[in-house]
């Protein structure tokens, strides 16, 4: 079972194993390249020695022998180095949380809790909309009230105006004066009738 070291990859931007593989491959290539250089130098040197019995084949055998030995040690040493690096350097201890994930520690919300929070927000939005339209309705009524009050006050003023006219013409209390007027007009009618009878 491979440990993908995903959390480390999240931090480093590469998987530690890949990093080690990259280093391993590079080191190994160097080792091989160096061995080929060593071998070519030796062959060149041998070429300069007259009557030399050492064949390139023998040299190749020597190279392989030394390389095999080095490779074995290289692999052993490298796997030790890899283990240490993966353990101590390229790893994130279990108790460590990366900064971008701090929020999970501060707000460990379950699905239900989050749903409840979102429901509450939705409900608040509904309530706000209701309040807002209620506010509009109330303000609309205020406007209407203003107009209605103005109308009613106008009527009251009209009555006041009426009474003022009466007062201006000496009829303080309208009712009385109306009664008085009625009497007077009645008297006048009687007098008129009287005059008409006499004139006949």
């Amino acid at each position: 079972s491979v440990n993908p070291m995903a959390y480390e990859a999240q931090f480093f931007g590469f998987t530690p194993q890949t990093c080690m593989l990259r280093v391993y491959t590079a080191f190994q290539d160097y080792l091989f390249d160096m061995m080929l250089v060593v071998e070519s130098v030796i062959l060149k040197k041998l070429g300069g020695i007259p009557g030399c019995e050492l064949s390139p084949f023998r040299i190749r055998k020597s190279t392989e022998k030394f390389l095999l030995f080095m490779k074995e040690h290289f692999d052993k040493l490298f796997s030790k180095m890899e283990a240490v690096l993966l353990q101590l350097v390229l790893n994130i201890p279990e108790n460590v949380l990366l900064p971008e994930d701090e929020v999970h520690e501060q707000y460990p919300y379950s699905k239900e809790q989050l749903q409840a929070l979102q429901d509450e927000i939705h409900q608040l939005q509904q309530q706000y909309r209701a309040e807002a339209s209620a506010g509009q309705a109330l303000r609309a009524e205020l406007e209407e009230q203003k107009a209605a009050q103005a109308e009613l006050e106008k009527i009251l003023q009209w009555f006041d105006g009426l009474e003022n006219i009466c007062r201006e013409h000496g009829t303080g209390d309208f009712k009385e004066s109306f009664a008085f007027l009625t009497q007077n007009s009645k008297k006048l009618q009687d007098v008129l009738k009287d005059v008409e009878e006499k004139s006949k």
């Binding site: 995903a6 959390y7 990859a9 999240q10 890949t18 971008e100 929020v103 939005q125």
Partner: protein, 32 residues
């Protein structure tokens, strides 16, 4: 597999911020 891990973990690192950006824009727009 390795690429998959790197791709996935890169998303884990970057996408919450991106998503949040839009979520915050939405909330701000709604508040306005």
């Amino acid at each position: 597999f390795d690429e998959l891990i790197v791709e996935t973990t890169t998303k884990r690192k970057q996408w919450p911020k991106k998503i949040l950006m839009y979520a915050i824009q939405t909330m701000k727009a709604e508040q306005e």
